[in-house]
Every structure is written in C-alpha cells, then in structure tokens.
Amino acid sequence: MLREDAASATLVDELVRLAPRSGPVTVLKDTRVLVVRVGDVVVKAHPPGTEEGDLRRRLDAAGELPGVMLAPLGLHRLDSPDRLDRLDHLGHAEAPHAGRPSGRLVTIWPAGEALSPDDLADGTMPQDAWESGARLLAHLHASPPPAAMPPAGGPGRLVRAMVELAQVGDSAETRQIREAYRTLAEPLHVPDPRAAGRPTDDHPTAGPSSADHRAAEHHPARHISAGHRAAVRGPEPSRGRRHALTHGDWHLGQLVRHEGAWLLIDPDDLGVGDPAWDLARPAAWFAAGLLDPELWHTFLSAYVGAGGIAVSPDDPWRELDLPARALTVQLAATATVTAMRAGSALDDVAAALVSSCGRIVAAAGERRQGEG
C-alpha cells in the first residue's frame, strides 16, 4: 500500500505545519485518524467526513469540563482534499452535500503524558489508572450536557464493526458474532436531544424492524448513514440515565496526565447517550474472562463511589448487560475482521470474545425458553 503510505506522509507534513511551534515529530496513531505529536502539542486529523458542527460542539463541551477532559487548543480544516478523503468509501456513503469542504478537520491539543502499555509492565499502574478513569467517567456522566450536543458515538461504532464483519466473508466465528448481535434489541435511533419533543416515529431512521436488522449485515452504506443514530435499546434505563454526557469510546488509551492530573481525551464520540456504554468495554472484558475480576471490581467500585449514575449500585448488571453484550459483539467483530484480513487464526483474546458471543446466544435461548 505504498500510495496510501505516501498520502499519509503528506498528511503528516500538513499536520506538522499546523503546529504552533516546531519540535520533535512522532506519529502516535495512523488509523481512521492520524495523530502526530510535535514538540509540546498533539495534532489530530479527524476521520474523513467528520461533521464540523458536531465536532465543534464536542470540542466546546470538552473545553468546558476542566479537570475531566483535556481542552483543545484549536480547530482547523486542511485546504486541499487529501487522497484518503477521496478513497474512503465509508465517507462517501454519507453523501456529502453540495459545497461541503472536503479537507480533513484537524484539532490541536496540549501534549499530555499518555498512559501506555509500557506502564502496565511493572504491574503497579493499572489499579491507579482504572480508578482514575472510573472517577473521571463518573464526573463526566454527572455533568449536564450542553445544548445541542450530538448523540454519543458508541452505538455507531458497533454498527461500523458489523459492517466490516459483513465484508470479510463468512465463517463459523462470523456467524456466531452475528447471532449474538441479533440478541441485542432492535437497532433503534437514540432520541436526538436536538429533536426533543418530536415523536421519534417521525425520524426516518426510526421504526426498527427485522428488515433494518438484516440491512445492518448486508447494506454497509445504508447502515453507516444511520451510523450515529443507530443504537440498541435495552431494558429501559431511566430517562436521566439515557441522556447523560457520555464519552462514547472509553478505554485506557483515553487517559492522559496533564499538569499533574489525569484527564479524559478524545471527544470524537462525546455526546448524549446511555452512560452505561462507557463502562461496557471493561464489562465485556470482564465477562469474557479477560479482565482480572479484582481490577473490574476496583473500577466499578471507584465509579459508583464517585457518584457515577450509569448503573444501580445494588445491581449494576441491570444497566450493564445490554451495552456489555453490544461491546462484546463489537470487540469480537473487530478482532475477527483483523485476523481474517491478516489471514491468521484468532488469537486467545479474540477467541475469548467469540466464545462470549456463544454464551450470549445460549443465554438468550434459555431466556426465550423460560418465557415460552
């Protein structure tokens, strides 16, 4: 993929030029996003097709959460459309409207000290990181969402993972993952806070049906267009619980230490949603037997102890069960796609997640039998 590497190198140069000061350059991430550290700032090119208004609202919200989220230093749009933008078929599926600028959106951030896999080597860092992350999420969820905040991006990530899974072909694993996906309630749009008071049935993406469900697996474009609205609804969390400020993509890589304090980074999926989704990834790891139960309980206790609203303290799985199933499916799909594209067998972690999908399907079957 030499040409893409070249395009990526050009984009790195453009990001370096946007940094306010020169300094040593390190590419921190090169996936859907490109993140480059230049001296004491980090410059990030957001995914092609990112909606500018939504990103602005997310950045503004992050800027108004001192002590919880890292505040951005600036937002730019690259003048020229870069190659990646034109290549990205998912971006095209969003049907750019006339006059939409096609250059990548770029944000500038103070460089924090990121928690990295190396920190886990000595075995002392994880507990502190888990507790700090839990407390920051609790504070985030307790913050009132600013007006006109877009929906949180977590459910959209599940949908993208399922679309990618549909593209890699068929295997025993992919069938198991799709079956587990079907145990989630029907895809339903998360009530958009900006359309409050409007009956949800008015919305073109509302009215979930088994047809929509099948579309999720076979029509990438359609599904992506419903991307950030599609969600899976569970056993009715209370209204407050479903309308909290939610990070949307939390994992240990989303923690940095800046000026002595841990902060959350990456507001790309920040928005209004069910905050239990922010706990769902570690919950899925725990349920798959991957995350040490002690670390999981440390995390959850710190969250509840800091006043976290996402779960009932006496029965957290009431709210966690559905989002944890959703994240299990998403993580299993992503890991399986990665392995199939590389032509390699599933590693232990991927296999544990696919097994988890199998248990989800079995548990759903038992529940149906119990009801029938």
């Binding site: 896999p117 890589g253 349920a287 037997g289 991957l290 040490d292 206790s301 957290p316």
Partner: protein, 89 residues
C-alpha cells in the same frame, strides 16, 4: 485417669486452650464440659477463612465466563494482544 470404655490409660494433651484426654489403648478421646463447643467454634472459624468465597462484589451477567484461572495477562502471546486491546478502540 482410666478410659471409661476399655479401661486403658488416658494421656492428657493441651492444644490451643482445649484440654483433652486420649486413651493410649483404643485412641478414644474424652472432652471436658464445653470443649466440644469450643472445638466446633474453632472449626467453623477456620472453615470460613479457608472456604468462604469473596463476597460477590458486583455480580456478573448470565453469559459471563467462569473466572478463577488467575492467569490474567501473563502469557506472552495473550499478554501482547490483551494489552493492545486495553488501549485501542
């Protein structure tokens, strides 16, 4: 003293505050008043320390994996892949 059962010789032992007599011949044991209760209490305490599972702090889902292997993240291959997952979307 003499064993009430076989008339053998009984030897006295003191263990952790419990005073017992054991017959050298039939190995039968004689307990003083209240010592059976003391033994029972100590046995219960010991069993609680040994076997009581940690309180189920937050429960788990019906579809959760059985935990208890105690092997989290120690194996080379699994460790790399697992640590990667902790840090990626």
């Amino acid at each position: 003293m003499e064993c009430p059962k076989c008339r053998g010789h009984m030897r006295t032992f003191d263990r952790n505050g419990i005073h017992i007599e054991q017959c050298d011949n039939c190995k039968g044991i004689f307990l003083d008043y209240g010592e059976l209760e003391s033994l029972t209490r100590m046995e219960t305490q010991w069993a609680q320390q040994q076997y009581a599972p940690p309180p189920p702090a937050h429960g788990g889902p019906a579809w959760g994996a059985p935990h208890g292997g105690g092997h989290y993240g120690h194996h080379g291959h699994r460790n790399r892949s697992w640590v990667g997952m902790l840090f990626s979307s």
